[in-house]
Symmetry: C2
Subunit: 94 residues, 2 copies
Protein backbone atom coordinates (compact mmCIF):
# COMPACT_ATOMS: atom_id res chain seq x y z
CA UNK A 1 0.00 0.00 0.00
CA UNK A 2 1.41 3.40 -0.97
CA UNK A 3 2.52 5.71 1.81
CA UNK A 4 0.34 8.53 0.51
CA UNK A 5 -2.76 6.48 1.24
CA UNK A 6 -1.82 6.37 4.91
CA UNK A 7 -4.76 8.51 6.01
CA UNK A 8 -7.36 5.99 4.90
CA UNK A 9 -5.15 2.96 5.13
CA UNK A 10 -7.11 1.27 7.84
CA UNK A 11 -10.59 1.82 6.38
CA UNK A 12 -12.57 -0.82 4.53
CA UNK A 13 -15.62 0.48 2.63
CA UNK A 14 -18.37 -2.07 2.17
CA UNK A 15 -19.90 -2.26 -1.30
CA UNK A 16 -21.40 -4.97 -3.45
CA UNK A 17 -18.53 -7.42 -3.72
CA UNK A 18 -18.79 -10.88 -2.15
CA UNK A 19 -18.70 -10.52 1.60
CA UNK A 20 -15.55 -12.61 2.02
CA UNK A 21 -13.57 -10.09 -0.06
CA UNK A 22 -14.22 -7.50 2.67
CA UNK A 23 -13.37 -9.99 5.38
CA UNK A 24 -10.09 -10.60 3.58
CA UNK A 25 -9.47 -6.83 3.27
CA UNK A 26 -9.94 -6.45 7.04
CA UNK A 27 -7.63 -9.29 7.99
CA UNK A 28 -5.04 -8.06 5.47
CA UNK A 29 -5.06 -4.68 7.24
CA UNK A 30 -4.52 -6.33 10.61
CA UNK A 31 -1.86 -8.57 9.09
CA UNK A 32 0.03 -5.52 7.83
CA UNK A 33 0.35 -4.25 11.39
CA UNK A 34 -2.75 -2.09 11.92
CA UNK A 35 -4.08 -2.16 15.48
CA UNK A 36 -7.47 -0.86 14.37
CA UNK A 37 -9.53 -1.29 11.23
CA UNK A 38 -12.63 0.78 10.43
CA UNK A 39 -15.48 -0.77 8.48
CA UNK A 40 -17.67 1.85 6.83
CA UNK A 41 -20.94 1.43 4.95
CA UNK A 42 -23.96 3.37 3.76
CA UNK A 43 -27.58 2.45 3.14
CA UNK A 44 -28.28 -1.19 2.42
CA UNK A 45 -24.61 -2.11 2.78
CA UNK A 46 -24.93 -1.48 6.53
CA UNK A 47 -26.21 -5.03 7.12
CA UNK A 48 -23.19 -6.38 5.25
CA UNK A 49 -20.82 -4.26 7.34
CA UNK A 50 -22.21 -5.94 10.45
CA UNK A 51 -21.80 -9.36 8.79
CA UNK A 52 -18.15 -8.57 7.98
CA UNK A 53 -17.42 -7.47 11.55
CA UNK A 54 -19.09 -10.56 12.99
CA UNK A 55 -17.32 -12.97 10.64
CA UNK A 56 -13.90 -11.45 11.40
CA UNK A 57 -14.52 -11.52 15.13
CA UNK A 58 -16.18 -14.91 15.39
CA UNK A 59 -14.62 -17.02 12.67
CA UNK A 60 -11.26 -15.52 11.81
CA UNK A 61 -9.67 -14.12 14.92
CA UNK A 62 -11.27 -14.10 18.31
CA UNK A 63 -8.64 -11.67 19.62
CA UNK A 64 -10.22 -8.97 17.46
CA UNK A 65 -12.87 -7.02 19.34
CA UNK A 66 -15.45 -4.44 18.41
CA UNK A 67 -14.11 -1.20 19.82
CA UNK A 68 -16.92 1.14 18.81
CA UNK A 69 -19.97 1.42 16.58
CA UNK A 70 -21.32 4.72 15.35
CA UNK A 71 -24.28 5.45 13.16
CA UNK A 72 -25.06 8.65 11.30
CA UNK A 73 -26.69 10.19 8.25
CA UNK A 74 -25.29 11.73 5.11
CA UNK A 75 -27.20 14.32 3.16
CA UNK A 76 -27.53 13.77 -0.55
CA UNK A 77 -29.14 15.66 -3.34
CA UNK A 78 -31.25 13.65 -5.71
CA UNK A 79 -32.84 15.59 -8.61
CA UNK A 80 -32.85 18.76 -6.52
CA UNK A 81 -34.42 16.97 -3.56
CA UNK A 82 -32.52 16.47 -0.31
CA UNK A 83 -32.43 12.93 0.90
CA UNK A 84 -30.56 11.23 3.70
CA UNK A 85 -28.70 7.98 3.70
CA UNK A 86 -27.78 6.22 6.94
CA UNK A 87 -24.16 5.32 7.64
CA UNK A 88 -22.30 3.04 10.01
CA UNK A 89 -18.71 2.93 11.19
CA UNK A 90 -17.56 -0.15 13.08
CA UNK A 91 -14.06 -0.01 14.57
CA UNK A 92 -12.38 -3.37 15.11
CA UNK A 93 -9.30 -3.51 17.31
CA UNK A 94 -6.74 -6.13 18.26
CA UNK B 1 -50.53 -2.39 26.01
CA UNK B 2 -51.24 -5.33 28.34
CA UNK B 3 -49.33 -5.46 31.63
CA UNK B 4 -48.08 -8.98 30.93
CA UNK B 5 -46.13 -7.71 27.95
CA UNK B 6 -44.12 -5.45 30.24
CA UNK B 7 -40.87 -7.30 29.71
CA UNK B 8 -40.69 -6.50 26.01
CA UNK B 9 -42.75 -3.34 26.17
CA UNK B 10 -39.99 -1.04 25.07
CA UNK B 11 -38.70 -3.13 22.17
CA UNK B 12 -39.46 -2.46 18.51
CA UNK B 13 -38.56 -5.28 16.12
CA UNK B 14 -37.79 -4.14 12.59
CA UNK B 15 -39.38 -6.18 9.81
CA UNK B 16 -40.68 -5.47 6.33
CA UNK B 17 -43.34 -2.86 7.02
CA UNK B 18 -42.92 0.70 5.75
CA UNK B 19 -40.18 2.38 7.72
CA UNK B 20 -42.42 5.11 9.12
CA UNK B 21 -44.54 2.50 10.91
CA UNK B 22 -41.48 1.61 13.01
CA UNK B 23 -40.69 5.28 13.57
CA UNK B 24 -44.25 5.67 14.81
CA UNK B 25 -43.89 2.60 17.07
CA UNK B 26 -40.77 4.11 18.65
CA UNK B 27 -42.29 7.52 19.29
CA UNK B 28 -45.45 5.89 20.65
CA UNK B 29 -43.29 4.05 23.20
CA UNK B 30 -41.60 7.27 24.27
CA UNK B 31 -44.99 8.99 24.34
CA UNK B 32 -46.32 6.34 26.71
CA UNK B 33 -43.61 7.23 29.23
CA UNK B 34 -40.69 4.95 28.35
CA UNK B 35 -37.28 6.49 28.95
CA UNK B 36 -35.58 3.99 26.67
CA UNK B 37 -36.65 2.19 23.52
CA UNK B 38 -34.73 -0.71 21.98
CA UNK B 39 -34.72 -1.19 18.23
CA UNK B 40 -33.85 -4.75 17.24
CA UNK B 41 -33.23 -6.22 13.81
CA UNK B 42 -31.67 -9.20 12.08
CA UNK B 43 -30.03 -9.70 8.71
CA UNK B 44 -31.05 -7.28 5.99
CA UNK B 45 -33.38 -5.40 8.32
CA UNK B 46 -30.28 -4.05 10.12
CA UNK B 47 -29.95 -1.19 7.62
CA UNK B 48 -33.59 -0.28 8.26
CA UNK B 49 -33.04 -0.30 12.03
CA UNK B 50 -30.32 2.32 11.55
CA UNK B 51 -32.68 4.34 9.34
CA UNK B 52 -35.39 4.23 12.02
CA UNK B 53 -32.98 5.37 14.73
CA UNK B 54 -31.67 8.21 12.58
CA UNK B 55 -35.14 9.41 11.55
CA UNK B 56 -36.37 9.44 15.17
CA UNK B 57 -33.27 11.27 16.37
CA UNK B 58 -32.91 13.74 13.53
CA UNK B 59 -36.42 14.47 12.35
CA UNK B 60 -38.80 13.65 15.16
CA UNK B 61 -37.21 14.53 18.46
CA UNK B 62 -33.72 15.85 18.84
CA UNK B 63 -33.82 15.22 22.61
CA UNK B 64 -33.68 11.50 21.87
CA UNK B 65 -30.13 10.19 21.83
CA UNK B 66 -28.50 6.96 20.86
CA UNK B 67 -27.49 5.38 24.14
CA UNK B 68 -25.83 2.23 22.85
CA UNK B 69 -25.42 0.06 19.79
CA UNK B 70 -24.61 -3.63 19.95
CA UNK B 71 -24.11 -6.11 17.19
CA UNK B 72 -24.14 -9.88 17.43
CA UNK B 73 -24.90 -13.14 15.67
CA UNK B 74 -27.67 -15.66 16.06
CA UNK B 75 -27.19 -19.28 15.14
CA UNK B 76 -29.83 -20.83 12.92
CA UNK B 77 -30.34 -24.24 11.50
CA UNK B 78 -31.23 -24.38 7.83
CA UNK B 79 -31.81 -27.87 6.36
CA UNK B 80 -29.45 -29.38 8.93
CA UNK B 81 -26.76 -26.79 8.22
CA UNK B 82 -25.75 -24.21 10.80
CA UNK B 83 -25.87 -20.65 9.58
CA UNK B 84 -25.46 -17.34 11.34
CA UNK B 85 -27.49 -14.22 11.01
CA UNK B 86 -26.19 -10.86 12.22
CA UNK B 87 -28.21 -8.83 14.71
CA UNK B 88 -28.28 -5.26 15.95
CA UNK B 89 -29.74 -3.64 19.03
CA UNK B 90 -29.90 0.15 19.12
CA UNK B 91 -31.01 1.70 22.41
CA UNK B 92 -32.56 5.14 22.14
CA UNK B 93 -32.99 7.22 25.30
CA UNK B 94 -34.58 10.50 26.23
Amino acid sequence: MAANQAKEENVVYIGKKPIMSYVLAVITQFGSGQKEVKIKARGRAISRAVDVAQIVKRRINQDIKIKSIEIGSEERENQGKKTYVSTIEIVLAK
